[in-house]
């Protein structure tokens, strides 16, 4: 604790000085603090998770009273929680936020905010609830086998009680004893890669944010460095987890769609802690240039990511500007990144769960491709109504997740839902037993090569498997070569599957897609079958475009080989930044029609940037619906588009008074900046958008996010053309427009 006694805040005066200076200097940290303070003060009931930090950071009596009220509101829910399916069957989701509400109770206690009666009553409620729910929950999780976000949350919550109250409470000491005993094993139980196997969403939203709490608590309790040291039983470390969290942040601003849940927006507190403890410029770059601060994403089932970002975010930046780029973890996967960070390839071979791969998917050598800010491949889970992966042999009765058993299909976790090699049409492919499923074969960050062998995972089902491998290359900082090899002693039908974003532009010898952001990808087989079998999948993934394109390149034989040229092209380029100077009108009841909105916009004196919701930028009322208008001109001859910020909710757009059909882009806008093509030379563009105004909706569910980003005019990029490519005598030749490349490529060998 600090001299002031506030756990996790090393110096209260230092924190206050840091925030004040950031505000004065107008830094990213200052903007975050300003937007958080404004929300907590103008709508404390809507932003309860911000209020305790604001109370601490300002010390103002009004802020302290607001924070007390939010904690008392939380305590008032405790009894009701016990009748919900959530607490009874998913208790870990309640343990982590309970720990933080308790921490905030402690902060206010250190500020002298509670009367004796209040203090005793709130402390009793929090402690009894903790012991009967989360001590119980922690003891359910097998020790030491269970190492995941759930057990980490449970162990942390019990350790926290021991630390905060153990000196005066036998019950808290008892909880703390078990929690502290298990926490080192939690950190050490993660693989040395830092990847828990639960998918990037759980890694980023729970494990990453939990790490600082755990590390700081262990260091305070035991002394020493609990961040860097590799711990038993598996040699995991907190530093490795934080590093992996940062690696999951793609250059296109999204989290990797790794294993489960698909593409998501990153959170920042784990990265801020990485900036503090590791200091690599990458962490500062992510915080200052890539984060979307209007996010309302639950971290560890609470909405205080921005609070902890501000707590951990160091003032002092490193002098070096080197940023981490390519990476590999031998047990997990790796990434190749172009120097300008425009081209990104991630290849994964992480362990999948035997028998029922629900979280840890079967994805041996699946690829994630992204170019010029646009995701090109998809992964994740389908929408509920999409049954495309409900394979016959992947149904499961899940007991213990609800008051009654629930039947589910784990097909989305199996190989058929991924861009991998499939054998004899078995889409439900998964492993039965525990064994080493894959192996890194090559990683050359200078030569931009990445290869892994996934033979064992195939050999379990097909004992005649000789080799299944994928080798990916980033060539000339401009395109990828992807080679698949599948060799068996007997003949099989083998398909190299790709899961791509729409739209399909053409298919024939290979295929061509164009994403909603105007990025094209040609996938040309230089070796192997040329004609793909393509299928549009409606409802997969459950986000982004909510549909995708499955392309299978099928051949039959004993030794099959594919060599793909994956060539991306940026079809649009930014020619003018149009972020500033929009007329803005608030729609307080979300009731305006277009005509009323135009009147409001005409009469509005507000001229603001469209970079973030108005009430995050200035002292304005919190409101869900806003209207923007701006006159825009074609920036240069030819086609042109308007690109709007990322994270718009239910957007609607009128151009010269005519409403546009945004189609898929309404959903896409949640995660990506959306482009709208203009036709006239001069347009008045009117945008209606909703934005998050609270951390919980009326029904208690998570509130919607806020938008953030630059708006721009785009034109068709120059330098396009037709693509021709061939592979002969170990050389790939590629011609695009007037550019040509030749790349020597030695094919993989089947070594027995």
């Amino acid at each position: 604790m600090t001299d002031d006694g506030l756990l996790y805040i090393r110096s209260l005066s230092g924190l206050r000085e840091k925030l004040a200076k950031a505000g004065r200097d107008g830094t990213a940290m200052g903007k975050v603090w300003g937007s958080l303070l404004r929300r907590a003060r103008s709508a404390p009931d809507a932003y309860p998770w911000f209020t305790p930090f604001v109370a601490v950071a300002t010390g103002g009596e009004g802020d302290i009273q607001a924070a007390k009220r939010q904690i008392l509101n939380y305590v008032a829910t405790l009894d009701a929680q016990q009748f919900g399916m959530g607490l009874q069957f998913h208790f870990w989701c309640f343990a982590f936020p309970h720990a933080r509400w308790t921490l905030y109770f402690h902060w206010l206690d250190q500020l002298g905010a509670w009367t004796e009666r209040e203090r005793a009553s709130v402390w009793e409620a929090l402690t009894v609830f903790q012991f009967t729910n989360f001590f119980y929950g922690m003891r359910t999780k097998p020790e030491p086998e269970c190492v995941d976000n759930q057990t980490l949350s449970l162990c942390f919550s019990n350790a926290l009680f021991g630390h905060l109250f153990g000196s005066s409470s036998a019950l808290s000491r008892r909880m703390g004893a078990d929690g502290f005993r298990r926490l080192p094993g939690m950190l050490g139980g993660f693989p040395p890669s830092g990847y828990s196997g639960e998918g990037s969403t759980y890694m980023d939203y729970v494990v990453g944010p939990a790490i600082p709490f755990v590390v700081e608590l262990l260091e305070r309790e035991n002394g020493g460095d609990w961040f860097n040291q590799a711990l038993p039983p598996h040699g995991g470390s907190a530093a490795a987890v934080v590093r992996m969290v940062a690696r999951e942040w793609m250059p296109n601003g999204l989290l990797l769609p790794w294993d489960h849940y698909g593409y998501s927006l990153p959170v920042t507190s784990g990265v801020a802690y990485g900036a503090r403890r590791i200091g690599d410029p990458l962490y500062f770059d992510l915080l200052e240039n890539a984060a979307t601060w209007g996010n309302n994403i639950g971290v560890g089932w609470g909405f205080d990511d921005l609070v902890w970002t501000l707590v951990w975010w160091p003032e002092r930046k490193p002098e070096s500007t080197r940023r981490a780029q390519a990476w590999v973890e031998p047990e997990v996967g790796g990434a190749l990144v172009s120097d300008d960070r425009e081209l990104y390839l991630m290849q994964m071979w992480d362990r999948s769960t035997p028998k029922t791969p629900i979280r840890e998917h079967v994805n041996p050598n699946a690829l994630v491709l992204s170019a010029y800010g646009s995701p090109l491949t998809v992964d994740g889970v389908p929408a509920k109504e999409c049954a495309v992966f409900n394979f016959d042999d992947t149904w499961l009765n899940r007991d213990g997740m609800d008051f009654n058993a629930v039947q589910t299909n784990f097909g989305p976790g199996c190989a058929g839902a991924h861009g991998v090699v499939l054998v004899d049409g078995w889409e439900g492919m998964r492993v039965e037993k525990e064994f080493k499923q894959a192996e890194l074969r090559e990683f050359d960050p200078e030569g931009n090569v990445l290869a892994a062998d996934v033979t064992p995972i195939y050999r379990e089902r097909w004992p005649d498997t000789l080799a299944v491998r994928r080798r990916s290359r980033l060539c000339a900082e401009r395109f990828w070569l992807v080679e698949d090899l599948a060799a068996f002693a007997e003949e099989h039908e083998l398909r190299s599957r790709w899961m791509l974003r729409p739209e399909l532009v053409s298919a024939g010898q290979g295929l061509e897609i164009e994403t909603a952001e105007g990025v094209r990808l040609w996938l040309l087989p230089l070796l192997g079958p040329g004609m793909p079998e393509t299928t549009e999948l409606k409802g997969f993934p459950d986000r982004l475009d909510c549909r995708s394109l499955r392309a299978d390149f099928i051949q039959r034989g004993r030794e099959c080989r594919w060599l793909f040229l994956a060539f991306p092209h940026e079809g649009r380029e930014v020619v003018e930044d149009i972020t500033d100077g929009w007329a803005v009108a608030r729609d307080p009841e979300a009731s305006f029609g277009f005509g009323e909105a135009v009147k409001a916009l005409t009469g509005s004196p507000l001229r603001l940037s469209i970079e973030m919701p108005p009430f995050l930028l200035a002292e304005l009322p919190v409101a869900r619906r806003w209207w923007y208008a701006k006159e825009l001109r074609r920036p240069q001859p030819g086609r042109w588009w308007i690109r709007l910020p990322r994270g718009l909710a239910e957007p609607a757009v009128w151009v010269n008074g005519v409403q546009m059909d945004l189609g898929d882009r309404v959903k896409l806008a949640e995660l990506m900046p959306i482009d709208i093509e203009m036709s006239a030379d001069t347009v008045v563009l009117v945008l209606r958008t909703d934005t998050g105004t609270r951390q919980y909706e009326e029904d208690g569910s998570q509130g919607i996010n806020s938008f953030q980003g630059r708006a721009a005019s785009l034109s068709e990029s120059t330098g396009g053309g037709s693509l021709e490519a061939s592979f002969k005598d170990g050389v790939a030749s590629v011609r695009f427009g007037r550019e040509t490349w030749t790349v020597a490529h030695e094919l993989m060998k089947v070594e027995l």
């Binding site: 904690i71 509101n73 939380y74 008032a76 829910t77 009894d79 009701a80 929680q81 016990q82 009748f83 919900g84 399916m85 959530g86 607490l87 009874q88 998913h90 989701c93 309640f94 982590f96 936020p97 309970h98 933080r100 509400w101 009666r117 209040e118 005793a120 009553s121 709130v122 402390w123 009793e124 402690t127 009894v128 012991f131 729910n133 001590f135 119980y136 929950g137 003891r139 359910t140 999780k141 097998p142 086998e145 269970c146 409470s169 036998a170 019950l171 000491r173 008892r174 639950g298 089932w301 609470g302 909405f303 499961l396 007991d399 213990g400 008051f403 919980y696 208690g700 569910s701 998570q702």
Partner: protein, 188 residues
């Protein structure tokens, strides 16, 4: 605002002698019973086995799992107002069962496990709890863990069955308990 005194009684469980703790297993408030079971497990006094077995049998008779649907309930971490809608005629006693479900049973099973071989009289009950799909998995897993700690050869069939339980914690504890039993047999 005032305290209910529940916490004070729970705190006191970690300072009581065995007989007094055993008496707390009959307390009307299940939170006190739960804490007493945890404390008795920590104490590890074999003489407590009969009291623990009796408490487990008493809990078997309670309608712990009679809640079949959602009645409301808060979202994780939310501090907003919550509205609960209970079925007509539900009693206070039933609501206490809904609140605790398998909590006390888990604590009793684990406490019996902490008694080691002295908990042999509890084996039939633990075998039943380890494999019963009518129990929450929190209880099945605890029963399996207890059987592993007790290490009696008669538990092998129940543990073998539990090792293919659809729920991960249960089958993990069962598999571990089977390994313990194997090791123990080889040592013997």
């Amino acid at each position: 605002m005032s305290t209910s005194g529940t916490l004070e009684q729970m705190e006191s469980c970690f300072m009581l002698e065995r007989e007094a703790l055993e008496a707390k297993l009959g307390h009307r408030d299940w939170r006190i019973r739960y804490t007493a079971a945890v404390a008795l497990g920590d104490m590890g006094a074999p003489a407590s086995v009969p009291a623990l077995v009796r408490a487990l049998e008493a809990e078997d008779k309670e309608p712990l799992y009679s809640q079949k649907t959602e009645v409301g309930g808060a979202h994780a971490g939310s501090n907003g107002p919550v509205t609960l809608k209970f079925p007509d005629g539900v009693t206070k006693e039933a609501l206490e069962c809904w609140r605790r479900r398998g909590r006390l049973k888990q604590a009793l099973c684990l406490a019996l496990g902490q008694m080691g071989a002295a908990a042999a009289p509890a084996l039939p009950s633990l075998h039943r709890h380890a494999v019963s799909q009518d129990e929450d998995y929190t209880v099945r897993a605890a029963a399996c863990k207890a059987l592993g700690l007790i290490g009696d050869a008669s538990s092998v069939p129940a543990l073998a069955k539990a090792s293919s339980d659809p729920e991960w914690c249960t089958k993990t504890e069962a598999a571990k308990a089977l390994r313990h039993s194997d090791n123990k047999r080889h040592e013997d």
